[in-house]
Symmetry: C2
Subunit: 466 residues, 2 copies
């Protein structure tokens, strides 16, 4: 079907308020936070802004009948091109469909639409002393629907796991417009092992199976206290060793973050007043729980990590905690500032490796940076081996672009070689699908077969995941 006809039909079906067709509007939907879509933005044919399951069904039936691709989008904070119409199609902007349908505190769960912002959800849940533990860096912007699509996690995955751990059920609109409910049509229970686990299959499926139109999510009691320890290391190998020591001591921190020397430099250049100590690595341990538990674990961390670190500072005072955490929280922004006028590239930015191989991995990334003449800033969630790498280049220089693309390819291969994955939490999208066979072998055949069960015409977010 011709693009002009598609636009006309959508406008007729849903009206001007729910359909964008102007180039200027579409351009906003041509990229996300990935480097790929900075290089190759791609306008969709049109954007639909659904406000109900019925809206969604109408668009899906239309797309299905006419073989038009459908690409769901949350807040566009993704770093993989996952929400971009790389092969053309209609983008569904779900970010405005942000109703919290019910907070059922007596059953420890909440039912919501996909467009609810993560931080907003936690603000509402806090009124009931509850919270949704996964804590992505983009909390203030990202949608819970996007978190479901990517199985997002972030700072607290060490203790609290990823989004999947909290999803009890989903309403899903299939490509042909049919609706299924996973986790039980009417169910509001916490535990349920009936049937194949379609809920978990949908989570992290990046929009290639269907559209999540409603989410039933489990909440947890909000812990009363937290504390943060900053440990400074002269020897990179001592950092992961200290993490393991903490586990061995029976402690599961809510977050364990690393800044290696490159990130320390970046932060100090960006904000000299933060004044991080010069070191091979800094670790931040966050623990939460009840007050005496936090105090106890702080003492253990000081003692245990103190044996490997140059020094360890422990804080429970909110002001001091914020200061200790500031270095980590500005790192993503600071990375770009290691070189005046340069930009941080979001590519190869989310590898995951076994804890015992974190130090070797960081050294290998430094060597790759040297090989390609590109500065790389490293930080991330060391507690579960999830390393964020930030190559910094002049984005106007084609030679540097060529070099950085080679670099990130090598970083992805390095992750697999280190018995890790090309992505720990950001997802595959368009940028990492080339590694699917390398990571999963013939299991990809099964994935493709499953996709066909949901999406026989192949219209759901093509060019993504595998």
């Amino acid at each position: 079907m011709d693009n002009i006809v598609i636009k006309k039909e959508l406008l007729k079906m849903l009206g001007k308020e729910k359909v964008l067709t102007e180039d200027l509007d579409l351009m906003y939907y041509s990229y996300d936070s990935s480097f790929l879509t900075k290089l190759e933005p791609s306008n969709p044919y049109a954007v639909v802004i659904p406000r109900s399951t019925e809206d969604l069904q109408k668009v899906m039936r239309f797309a299905y009948e006419n073989n038009i691709n459908i690409i769901p989008r949350g807040a566009g904070t993704g770093e993989t091109g996952g929400c971009i119409a790389v092969k053309g199609g209609i983008v569904l902007d779900l970010s405005n469909w942000d109703e919290i349908i019910e907070i059922d505190a007596s059953n420890m769960q909440v039912i919501l639409r996909p467009g609810v912002i993560h931080a907003e959800l936690n603000k509402e849940l806090a009124k009931y002393n509850l919270f949704f533990p996964p804590d992505p860096g983009s909390s203030l912007m990202c949608t819970v629907g996007g978190m479901v699509a990517n199985n997002a996690s972030g700072l607290r995955a060490v203790k609290y796991g990823c989004t999947e751990q909290y999803i009890l059920g989903l309403e899903v609109v299939l490509p042909n417009g049919d609706i299924i409910t996973t986790g039980g049509i009417k169910a509001k229970c916490i535990k349920n092992v009936s049937g194949l686990n379609l809920t978990k299959l949908m989570i992290g499926s990046e929009g290639v199976l269907g559209i999540v139109s409603k989410i039933r999510l489990r909440c947890w009691p909000k812990p009363k206290a937290r504390g943060i320890a900053m440990a400074v290391f002269d020897d990179l190998d001592q950092a992961p060793a200290a993490v393991l020591d903490i586990y061995q001591a029976g402690i599961l921190p809510s977050g364990i973050e690393i800044l290696d020397s490159s990130a320390i430099q970046a932060v100090n250049q960006f904000k000299p007043e933060i004044n991080l100590p010069d070191a091979e690595a800094i670790l931040l341990f966050e623990v939460d729980g009840n007050p005496p538990s936090v105090e106890y674990e702080g003492n253990v961390i000081k003692e245990v990590v103190g044996k490997r670190a140059r020094n360890v500072e422990w804080a429970t005072d909110p002001k001091r905690m914020a200061e200790l955490w500031e270095g980590r929280s500005v790192t993503a922004t600071a990375a770009a500032r290691v070189r005046p006028g340069a930009s941080r590239v979001f590519a190869g930015e989310d590898i995951s490796v076994p804890l015992a191989k974190v130090a070797d991995t960081l050294r290998a990334i430094r060597a790759l940076g040297d090989k390609y003449g590109i500065k790389v800033v490293n930080y991330g969630h060391i507690g579960d081996g999830n390393v964020h790498t930030a190559p910094v280049i002049n984005p106007e220089d084609p030679a540097e672009i060529e070099q950085v693309l080679k670099l990130v390819h090598d970083i992805h291969l390095l992750a697999i070689e280190m018995e890790g994955s090309t992505t720990g939490e950001h997802g595959v999208g368009a940028v990492r699908r080339q590694y699917a066979r390398l990571e999963h072998g013939n299991a990809v055949d099964i994935m493709e077969g499953i996709k066909k069960v949901f999406d026989d015409k192949g219209i759901m977010n093509p060019g993504k995941l595998f």
Copy 2:
């Protein structure tokens, strides 16, 4: 293919030590712990005891070529007929394939074969200060492979979730003998969002997709301390209300168990020396963590639950904890003793309902028991709404059998009506598949489609799950 030929071929292929063909041997495989298979045991054609992936592949290829059903079996502790050849076929007894291949403490994971016993695994992990948290009642007998097949959980699911939360990857032998590895072919990382989540899809799939031949499992630091509170209630409604109060107070116990008046009676009849107080309900709260945390939470439980309970006793002394827990631990056995010469029936024994509906559900089950003239003993994991019901009958009396089958059907319907599920942790198997459409509606079509992707000939454990 004729049964006699199947036996001959298997013996030729794998030898006498790995193949059972005698009726007396096969009879052992004709039932599990379900009431269904007590009523209708079903011998397999033969039993194969594989000792390697190659053994498995040989059997699978043979079965695939000749359209013979394959039924995997762990320890046979299941209560759903899940491991029984209800439609004929070859049973694979995986319980002897019990090698722990690697405990990789520095990456917080263990790689093992499906036949490892749960308690054995935790004994080995304890040497490294690690543990695998799910804690089924059958811990001393059940296999980790069976736990994966059923997504088992048990006492600690409130805080620690179900088996699925800990499985990082699986080796799966498909019906045609091909092997796939989920979670990454070479991966040993903790976090990985690459590709469709086949690991989670396999968990709880009850052997209808393929055979799990290797398990990569995440472990957690073993907590240093625990404590138990016993709270006695004169009013049934106060018990779930007290559970909610505890969550609201920011506490997530590692277990919250209930014995209602029927279970209290059963325990006291079975072992008068336990001498549980006469009450409408008893709750047991178990908390774990570091020592000061456990002490703090004990104080909160005493204070918060004390407002609703007749009295609350708190213990951290191992001897007293064991005494407080004893009532709960003997309940399953005690249930049968409420009536001399009677038996407990494992049917309708695992419903799950929203926490806010637990009291109404227990009352409704009592009323159903009265309606059918059958004594029902109720207990279970109230923290997540998972209620175990134990109808007690004379198993030699056909009239009572007829009545109890009506009763458990009504209990299953009640669970769905209460916005719950027919199974919280035991699984569907042969006994609950009739409720699949009622629970999942048209999502069952997708499940059936997915099954075909794995098992195009429909030979994997037919007559189960949906």
